[in-house]
């Protein structure tokens, strides 16, 4: 650290820390200097181009931009000399000459107008230059370049902060202007609509259409209030500011949260209006007596009353509880099951599992973690005694080597992706491994496009290199790790040369990447569903754990293991015990001591055996086991594999209660539907992928008769004579916390105050621990355990009948089964219809035309949808997102399970593709 610099600012002696600009010191000293191109926010580089912040430095011929200039010892700086003041005024007058007038401006409240007012400039004497044309091609963002001041903040936002690289500054001189790609209309460009440019723009030249008039030229909407909350979509857990006008959300902006530093993605920023969808459930519904269950039924806003009738809350709740009780009476806990949701809050998850366990003595309670990271959790629990991430994703910025495998963060964790790209830009070596090409590979040192389903072969080959070349950390292994010798023996046969033909990556690359990972000072691994949704998924994760353990790349800044959690609260819902094997905090239901604690707390005998998992529950229903089910916020009719089977199970149920905000595909098969609360309507805590517990707050009122989920849970519990008396969410949180050592020192009060706290925390007033396991692991003996792995092929390999590998996943715009995002105007406008992606070469070879309707078929079903040409998809593969109810990809997927994580093989099955019947007939 160098010493502070002392200099004079407006006659006062002040000090600057190293790297501080004059502008920053002035701000600290309470001296206001106008600024436009300088954004006073994390991640933004000052550029000094607008010249609104000019100050005078004694002895210098010209003025200087205070936002980019660092003071030097003894410098004499004056902000108010005549020429500095004049120059600043002139800058505003020049910029104003080319602006639309304030009354017809895209944003009269923008920084530009606020500063103009403060500087005292309200009109310009200079004639305007030529006005550029408007671009309103994008569904969410209006581009009114007549208000542009060419400050390039949007370019920095797009290129340096979010690293999406869509915006550049085109042309030069007075023609200089932001462009999208090759000066394309924004709506036809590669823009991913993260909206960072909108939040950065100091004039409103780039502005939310949601706040503008019909022509998207002039601002028309000013919010009544703004609420601090957290994003409802993915596991990144971006903090948000939600602006509300007349009870409706009109704008969402990022806040400076630990996971997002003001950044958001298209879903978080523009996907808010699903909450106000006319399709929201607003009244309790009960299946009509004359409406039989039909697994092929499709309901919508106009025909649902053929099947359901509206009911009072009392009738609906009575009916819901009675049906569950009836089955319980008939079959005991074995007859009941519940699917909670990773989209709900921690408190809802806790109450839900408590209801199933306390109300019915059943452990048949699970949620969609089973479909995403169950295998990661299984392997992590087995290996290091903890299922959560060992380091937050921003640790990538400290890493020398970053591996991302089986994940597409640009689509599924877009804000995480920004940090990975920033890490690469500042010099970390980035390695991307995926069977499909992806945008991150442009930033990577190595992009390994391997054969689908060969993860273990590739990773064992890397382990082989690390061990045979002696790149492992002997000391670390001796101190912390068991099972090294067995691993050494196992991987000895997995030479890169032997594995290259298996995984499709040449031996040299395997060696290079293994050496890079092992030899870097700090290496970190991220993974996603590409690792975890296979029949060999637990083995995949075991390999990754072994890599980290034998190299000691865990427990230090810039190192670790990070499964990128999918849902906004999948970490929290799992922590809260929404899992059939464990109570809150992953404590086994089969351990008598642990069970005794909960039996004491909940006042009844609890099920001593682990319950059934998501897919097992469906099988058990068909096998005449489970006959009643309570589903809160989940959509197994879309999310489970082999949906003919899943939907058949749902219709087989004697009694199905669905609590949701929309009439989901699952709700079509319900007996009782309870209209519940959307994220933006309720209070609750959510735990993101980084183990950060954060508060979501109510922003808008509940629609119609819809009620908060915790209240509905309590209503049902009390109809089951459980005598719940919660006064509100804070009380539920505190009860949950009393069973969860992981939340020690994180009281509701603290959460209210801080908004976000990382667990575990060591004291009430110290920040939580971001990097875990520096000293030991939370296993019995404190040591980690390596489990060697063998090659297990995917359950269903391509053959001459089904020659393609079908893989499924998400799109940037659509969340999970699409229940929310398909009803968000902007998101559905961006990706409005089901598509199957295929490499253009395969399309040509098959004689197809891009855009035509095709039928994709597997042994489980067939669906018809639009053919998309996408070079990201490797030859021989098909990719399909599972969010489109018109063409549900999960009609096709293979329900074969990983034996440990019980997760289905969504990422691999054999398929064939042909022109759709109608087209073929033409």
């Amino acid at each position: 650290m160098s010493e502070a610099i002392t200099f004079s600012l407006d006659g006062k002696t002040v000090t600057a820390a190293e790297g501080e600009s004059i502008w920053q010191v002035a701000k600290r000293e309470g001296i206001t200097i106008p600024h436009l191109c300088h954004k006073d926010a994390p991640g933004y580089r000052s550029d000094g181009n607008c010249r609104a912040c000019m100050v005078d430095i004694e002895g210098e011929r010209t003025l200087t931009a205070s936002c980019v200039r660092q003071p030097s010892e003894g410098m004499v700086v004056n902000t108010e000399t005549e020429r500095a003041t004049k120059a600043r005024e002139m800058v505003f007058e020049l910029l104003m000459s080319d602006q639309p007038s304030r009354e017809v401006h895209p944003d009269p409240e923008s920084d530009f107008w606020q500063w103009s007012y403060k500087v005292g400039v309200s009109a310009s004497r200079y004639a305007p230059c030529e006005r550029p044309v408007q671009d309103i091609s994008h569904p969410a963002i209006a581009v009114n370049l007549e208000a542009c001041i060419a400050c390039n903040l949007c370019e920095r936002a797009c290129r340096e902060v979010q690293v999406n690289d869509v915006i550049g500054m085109g042309w030069r001189g007075s023609h200089a202007a932001p462009v999208f790609d090759l000066a394309d209309p924004m709506g036809l460009s590669s823009c991913v609509a993260c909206g960072e440019c909108v939040s950065a723009c100091p004039t409103g030249a780039l502005f939310e259409k949601s706040l503008m008039d019909e022509e998207a030229k002039v601002r028309a909407v000013y919010p009544d209030e703004t609420v601090d909350s957290v994003c409802p979509f993915c596991g990144v857990g971006c903090l948000t500011k939600v602006s509300v006008k007349s009870g409706k959300i009109v704008q969402v902006e990022g806040r400076d949260g630990p996971a997002n530093e003001n950044r958001l993605c298209v879903k978080g920023r523009f996907g808010f209006d699903y909450v106000a969808s006319p399709e929201r459930l607003t009244k309790p519904l009960i299946r009509r007596d004359d409406a039989p269950k039909d697994q092929n039924i499709e309901l919508n806003g106009s025909n649902y009353l053929d099947v359901f009738r509206e009911a009072t809350w009392d009738e609906a709740l009575d009916r819901a509880a009675a049906g569950l009780q009836e089955s319980y009476a008939a079959k005991g806990g074995a007859g009941i099951s519940g699917f909670g949701s990773a989209k709900g809050s921690n408190e809802e998850a806790y109450l839900f599992q408590k209801l199933i366990r306390q109300g019915f003595g059943s452990n048949n309670v699970d949620h969609c973690t089973r479909l995403c990271h169950a295998s990661s959790v299984a392997a992590l629990m087995e290996g290091i005694g903890s299922g959560a991430v060992t380091a937050p994703f921003r640790a990538a910025l400290d890493a020398d080597c970053v591996i991302v495998i089986g994940a597409r963060p640009e689509q599924n964790h877009p804000v995480t992706a920004t940090y990975l790209k920033q890490a690469a830009k500042k010099g970390s070596k980035l390695v991307i491994m995926d069977p499909r090409h992806q945008g991150l590979m442009r930033h990577a040192d190595h992009g390994l496009i391997f054969k689908p389903g060969t993860d273990v072969a590739m990773l064992n080959a890397m382990l082989n290199v690390i061990i045979t070349e002696g790149l492992y950390d002997r000391q670390y292994i001796a101190a912390h790790v068991d099972g090294f010798e067995a691993l050494k023996e196992k991987v000895s046969e997995f030479t890169p040369e032997a594995m290259a033909p298996v995984c499709g990556i040449d031996a040299q690359t395997l060696r290079d990447v293994a050496r890079l990972y092992a030899s870097s000072g700090k290496s970190i691994i991220f993974w996603g569903m590409g690792i975890s949704q296979h029949v060999h998924s637990t083995d995949n994760v075991r390999c990754l754990i072994a890599m980290a353990l034998i190299t000691g790349h865990i427990g230090r800044p810039g190192t670790g293991l990070h499964p990128l959690r999918g849902q906004n609260n999948v970490q929290g819902a799992s922590d809260a015990g929404l899992i059939p094997m464990v109570f809150p905090d992953y404590r086994s239901v089969e351990d008598p001591n642990i069970r005794a604690e909960f039996e004491d707390a909940w006042g009844r005998t609890l099920d001593p055996q682990r319950g059934l998992t998501v897919v097992e529950i469906m099988d058990d229903i068909i096998a005449d086991g489970i006959e009643a089910m309570y589903v809160m916020g989940e959509n197994p009719a879309m999310s489970d594999p082999d949906q003919h089977h899943a939907r058949k199970a749902l219709t087989t149920l004697k009694h199905l209660v669905v609590q949701d905000i929309f009439l989901t595909e699952t709700a079509w098969h319900a007996d009782v539907i309870l209209p519940a609360s959307a994220h933006a309507e309720k209070l609750g805590t959510y735990t993101n992928t980084n183990r950060q517990v954060q508060i979501g707050r109510p922003c808008v009122p509940l629609p119609g008769e819809a009620r908060a989920d915790w209240e509905l849970l309590m209503e049902l519990a009390n109809r089951l004579d459980l005598d719940w008396t919660y006064s509100g969410v804070p009380e539920i949180y505190e009860e949950m916390r009393s069973h969860m050592p992981s939340l020690a020192h994180i009281s509701w009060e603290r959460l209210e105050r801080d908004g976000t706290v990382t667990y575990p925390a060591d004291a009430d007033d110290t920040p939580g621990n971001e990097i875990l396991f520096g000293d030991s692991f939370p296993t019995e003996d404190g040591r980690a355990r390596i489990v060697p792995t063998d090659l297990v092929p995917p359950a269903e390999l391509p053959d001459s009948d089904f020659p393609f590998v079908l893989t499924t996943g998400r799109m940037l715009e659509h969340w999970h089964t699409g229940a929310m995002t398909r009803r968000a105007t902007v998101l559905d406008a961006l990706e409005p219809e089901p598509v199957v992606s295929m490499h253009p070469k395969d399309i040509r070879a098959a004689g197809f035309t891009l855009g035509q309707q095709v039928t994709v078929e597997t042994r489980r079903g067939a669906i018809t949808l639009t053919l998309r040409a996408d070079r990201d998809v490797s030859s021989g593969m098909l990719f399909m997102p599972f969010c489109f109810s018109e063409a549900p990809a999960n009609f096709l997927t293979n329900p074969q399970l990983d034996p440990y994580g019980k997760i289905p093989e969504f990422k691999f099955c054999a398929a064939r593709i042909a022109p759709a019947m109608a087209e073929a007939a033409e």
Partner: protein
Amino acid sequence: MTFGKGLSRKPSQPKGRQLDEAALEDVRVLLDGESRQRDLLIEHLHKIQDEYGCLEAKHLKALAEEMRLSQAEVFEVASFYHHFDIVREGETLPAPLTVRVCDSVACSLKGADALASVLESGLDPSKVRIQKVPCIGRCAAAPAVQVGKRAVDNASEMTVLSSVYAGEIEPSIPDYVGLTAYLADGGYNVLQRVRSGELKAEDIAEYALAAGLRGLGGAGFPTGTKWKIVNDLPGTKYLTINGDEGEPGTFKDRVHLERDPHRMLEGALIAAHAVGVERIYIYMRDEYPAVLEILKTEIALLRENGIVTSIDFELRRGAGAYICGEESAMIESIEGKRGLPRHRPPYIAQVGLFGRPTLNHNIETLFWIRDIVEKGSEWFATQGRRDHKGFRSFSVSGRVKSPGVKIAPAGITMNELIAEYCDGMDEGHSFKGYLPGGASGGILPSSLADEPLDFGTLEKHGCFIGSHAIVVFSDKDDMRDVALNLMRFFEHESCGQCTPCRSGTEKMVALLQDETWNKDKIADLDVVMRSASICGLGQAASNPVASVLKFFAEEAGS
């Protein structure tokens, strides 16, 4: 509300422009064996432009893919430089031949505008495109035209058309002192002495300091001092050579290189070895295709003859941007980016090319090194008049009888220069005023033609000598038109980065077209441009306007 509505893209493909496989193949063929590193972007754009006569969107997309850049990064660079023609889908391809008519001040005096009009009406626009362009560095032969890459001096409709019809579009290479002749004359002996360790960096620096050698690109910074600064910095360093001689009225570097290129190349190698740089980058403006050809040939010969050894040259081609003559903008351009000047501090000597300490020299500065070492500092220092040191290469154009590059003593006066070196004024013209330092150095009246011409002598009149580009005006010339021509040039060449220059030059052009100049509005613009622009372009752009108001007030209608 339009929220949620927009142009719907095709569901049959992912977002944005898709890669055209054939275009990718085109680009791969052009880039065969070449590095894809970022700083070669402009070089690679040239390859496409040269091959296809334009930059089609499909090729830009393919180039981005191949260089692992975003489309926006490619577009912003391509659109910054005027020698690139971007053609997006659905737009018309440019005509196969471009005729560039220089309309900068010297050519404008000699009827460039009329010539351009005549050519435009006489040629089929689908076959030949007439472009009015800023100074192409042939002011002594005004009006000057380039047919393709072939220069036509003292151009007329006849001479241009005959070149067009004859298909003479390649540069004609003038006779120059080649390597053999240069070596025969004792060339590269001084370099040998540096390499052998006989002459060290400090020695060369002392030679330059004693000789009074200064940066002749326009800034006039003492050359020896610059060497000492860079020599003292540790680690990887670079030498950059600024051949982006774009200041209107300046053409001395071109003339030197078209006559005796090795004198500069030896100077460069001496500096490079003395200071210990990693590599030498020559940034040469694209308006000088003959020079580019000569340098390419001669550098290859230097390699073949083992004269270039460990420290090699890299020749980079500009693409039509005056601002890249500004040293930090030039460095940005060498890095393959838009030519945006950087903020100072840090100075490029400390943080320059690729973030490393960088020694940057003008062509002419290096041109004198060999002579100074061989003939001695004293010899050079005593060449000046009135206590000024050394020779200067004055580029003289305008209303004199014998324009051209005049190697004359520093400190000579304008009256002496016209009389002794230019054979007096043109017939029928009487001396009224002159640009002492190109477009940015202001305008002086003939009443101030006895001032010695050198760095620091003209500032008291609001002018400077800069690159020693003298344009002489007569009683036949309208000084308002001159100021407007110069301001249009600055407007055209402003990089657009900072508000005072981007907007100021544009507003100033508008004001100068008023019947009567509005002095208040002009004065306020002058303040903000001069004090708040990032670089010298904006800071000096209002100089000619200020000069007209000061010395030719009656012509400004006030």
